[in-house]
């Protein structure tokens, strides 16, 4: 590139501001909590993600599953953030939200969608018992895998499901997070 061409490439300085866009098909926000950063997303008024996954991976999955019009629009998540904060402070026992398991497979939906009715605040159940309750008594391991892929962590309480031995077994947000949530629920 000669002198004139490089002068042309610097014709305007880098300034301006990011665009302001209308409500996206999928709005998301990163929310810092006591148990880590959650990526929260909503589409058509329903919560579609509450995940410990990273921003790029999660927004790419949302773009594929729902719509590529995915934008960081924290205001759309205000209600969910408030409810999560209340829950994590021990001031809320149930979520008053509509959810959509658009990111889940059919089997994951079967396992996850009725989780609030198969578990209750402050109580744990086991993978085997949950497998029996959804009429898949031999699928305890598959149930565990489906819970591990929960796109709606905390909102759908997969943390209340533990191993038959009483071991916490695993959690997308790490075992410390699972322990935090179970302690929180046992105290309140």
């Amino acid at each position: 590139m000669n002198d004139l061409e490089s002068r042309l490439s610097r014709l305007t300085s880098a300034s301006g501001r990011p665009p302001v866009l209308p409500a996206a098909d999928v709005s998301y926000a990163l929310h810092d909590t006591q148990i880590g950063t959650l990526l929260l997303a909503t589409a058509a008024g329903r919560v579609v993600a509450s995940s410990f996954g990273d921003e790029e991976t999660m927004t790419t999955r949302l773009a594929r599953a729902i719509s590529p019009r995915v934008l960081r629009q924290p205001a759309a998540l205000d209600d969910l953030r408030r409810q999560l904060d209340e829950y994590l402070d021990g001031r809320r026992h149930e979520f008053d939200l509509e959810v959509d398991l658009a990111l889940a497979t059919p089997f994951q939906r079967l396992v996850l969608s009725d989780l609030p009715s198969h578990t209750s605040y402050g109580r744990t159940t086991t993978y085997g018992r949950l497998a029996g309750e959804i009429d898949r008594p031999k699928a305890a391991r598959a149930v565990g895998t489906a819970l591990g892929a929960n796109p709606l962590c905390v909102v759908l309480p997969c943390h209340r499901v533990i191993g038959a031995s009483g071991a916490l077994t695993g959690y997308a947000g790490g075992l410390d997070a699972k322990r935090f949530l179970l302690n929180l629920e046992s105290k309140s």
Binding site: L4, T12, S15, E56, T59, A63, P68
Partner: protein, 164 residues
């Protein structure tokens, strides 16, 4: 039956990656006052059209093409109606000292005929190749090459820069 869908990246990734380039091009094409409006309008159009895109390739070039068209629309709206004035370049708002690092060049670029001005700006501020410039200006790469080289020749003369 579900039709085959292109796998487009989340729109936020486009905004994060390209908003500065869109802003720079919009300001170079439309001036400091209208530039931000042109960029904003370009993003609104891109956002509306995005789900219907049939290819996820060259998204940067696609965004800069939309920006260029929004700048053209603004120019057409502002251009004097008399056909006698058609060939005259349309003045863009003047430079604001600190924001415009090269006022002499800015002046000379703005005195170019519109097509040349757009072509040379898309090529160097937008960093598009001649295929990209041609797509933005609805013309051929050969015509883009001609517009850019004519523009460079005029600029060299005006600015007293030696041929290299």
């Amino acid at each position: 039956m579900v039709s085959e869908r292109v796998s487009l990246p989340p729109f936020q990734a486009l905004v994060d990656e390209h908003w500065r380039d869109v802003a720079r091009l919009a300001r170079a094409l439309a001036g400091p006052v209208d530039g931000d409006d042109v960029a904003q309008r370009a993003w609104e159009k891109a956002f509306a059209a995005y789900p219907n895109l049939t290819s996820a390739k060259n998204l940067r070039s696609w965004l800069l093409t939309i920006t260029s068209r929004c700048a053209t629309d603004l120019h057409r709206a502002r251009r004097p109606q008399s056909p006698l004035d058609e060939s005259l370049p349309v003045a863009v708002d003047g430079p604001e000292s600190a924001e415009w690092p090269d006022p002499d060049l800015w002046q000379a670029v703005n005195e170019l005929p519109e097509r040349q001005r757009f072509a040379v700006t898309l090529k160097y501020v937008g960093d598009l190749d001649h295929h990209g410039v041609a797509a933005a200006l609805d013309t051929t790469p050969a015509a883009s090459r001609r517009l850019v080289s004519d523009a460079l020749a005029t600029l060299r003369n005006k600015l007293g820069v030696d041929h290299e």
